[in-house]
Symmetry: none
Subunit: 235 residues, 2 copies
DNA sequence: GCGTTCCGTGACAATGCTGTGACGGTAGCG
DNA sequence: CGCTACCGTCACAGCATTGTCACGGAACGC
């Protein structure tokens, strides 16, 4: 079979021997592995094809691991990307800062392959192990994150970038109510300053875009609470 | 704000000094902390009020941490519950097995509080830091905090925001009588100034909203005391 | 039975919340 | 540069919700 079914791990690390070792062990475990020693290159490759998990070295030539991490967390597309930091024992203080910057876990060199693989498994399982690739469906709507396409009742919908991310977010958590602040954090970003009422406007634009004539509105308003992707009637 | 907004961490650990230390540091970080040294009791408490994150010691008197972990992973309600294992340095092999059993992370004793807190933050962020909200049931009524929906006998009920919070509060403490002041503190807020009699009006609105024709009233009035959610079957 | 206390009920004015259209600003693109 | 698409903010209207009150009836103690 091709490698496309396997979880895809990107290693960002410049010590060649370590990379060889990691690649050998991870591929033996059934992962698809790519690597790069350059932070900037990593950013590009992640942008064009986001991995399922990132192994990130703290010490890097062009861009520090922590900086790369920060950049990834700033983008909505990679905000959920599982990241494990590789750090030398002496840099433990930095690793702590790394976690706060947005890494999900860290491991200190030297480490046992066994421990690393266990952590990778735990992290992949938690993130659903195939984060970005599955189509999202609800009622008669289908959104394909890969091809960036939305379809309702066979006809393609035209959504703006924000509307797309908004719908994607709600599709990932159907039937759950989110406050405007929740939506802002998830769709716009954590440190962005935007009026909460802005969500209303985009909800309206989303509604206008997805609700054709005669079709029911699947965006439910919950007064004094927020919005949810749900049918108003009971299923 | 009350503790209900803070992330709730349950510590399962039988070394009292360690618990004291953890509690002190975690509460300082703004977490709500509970603890128990008994695995069985932990299971009960998690069942009735699932925490946002679990700190779990490997060595426990009645039930080993790994067994508790396994049990939690078997139940749908706690399958996603973030778990961090506490383990002694010498037990690292076990910790690896722990991760495969379903723990999300582990940390070896002795550890720095700093590192632990960083991991807690990372894990909470990953899990959406959304508290596990379970459906609340009583008699033939079901309230789902996540979807903000109330159902009785299969039909959806329309409640205003205050009525919803009121019902949610009573559902969390069934069969218990609360004075109007209690209700005001819990549902309206501690520093809000509202006439106690206002509760009466909302109780009436709640009754009107949830009691369909031919259905019994599950809101019981206790004269000179307050209200309770209970079946009023007194001869 | 009778007075007193307490609660249910309907009405109402004030407030709060959301839908909607419009507007100016900006980034991308030919 | 002009054009287009998109974004964030605002003002306003319409409606839902809220807190309070007055009235009357029910429950209670004696």
């Amino acid at each position: 079979m091709s490698d496309h079914n396997k979880p895809y791990i990107l290693i960002v690390e410049d010590e060649a021997p370590l990379v060889t070792l990691l690649r050998y062990n991870l591929e033996k475990q059934g992962f698809r592995v790519e690597d790069t020693g350059d932070g900037g290159e990593a950013l590009t490759r992640i942008t064009e094809a986001p991995p399922d998990l990132l192994l990130l070295d703290w010490m890097l030539p062009t861009m520090s691991g922590i900086e790369l991490c920060r950049q990834l967390r700033r983008r909505p597309a990679t905000r959920q990307l599982p990241i494990i930091m590789l750090t030398a024992r002496a840099e433990e203080q930095d690793a702590v800062r790394g976690l706060d910057t947005g890494a999900d876990d860290y491991i200190t060199k030297p480490f046992s392959t066994e421990a690393l693989i266990a952590r990778i498994r735990a992290l992949l399982r938690r993130s659903g192990s195939v984060p970005q690739k599955l189509k999202l469906n609800f009622h008669d709507i289908s959104l394909d994150p890969a091809s960036h396409r939305v379809i309702r009742n066979g006809r393609a919908l035209h959504l703006g970038p924000t509307e797309f991310r908004l719908l994607e977010f709600f599709l990932r958590h159907p039937k759950r109510v989110f406050s405007r602040e929740d939506v802002l954090n998830a769709v716009w970003g954590r440190d962005i300053h935007v009026e909460p009422r802005t969500v209303d406007v985009h909800i309206r634009r989303l509604r206008k875009a997805i609700n054709g004539p005669g079709e029911i509105d699947i965006v439910r308003t919950v007064r004094a609470a927020g919005y949810a992707l749900d049918l108003d009637e009971i299923a």
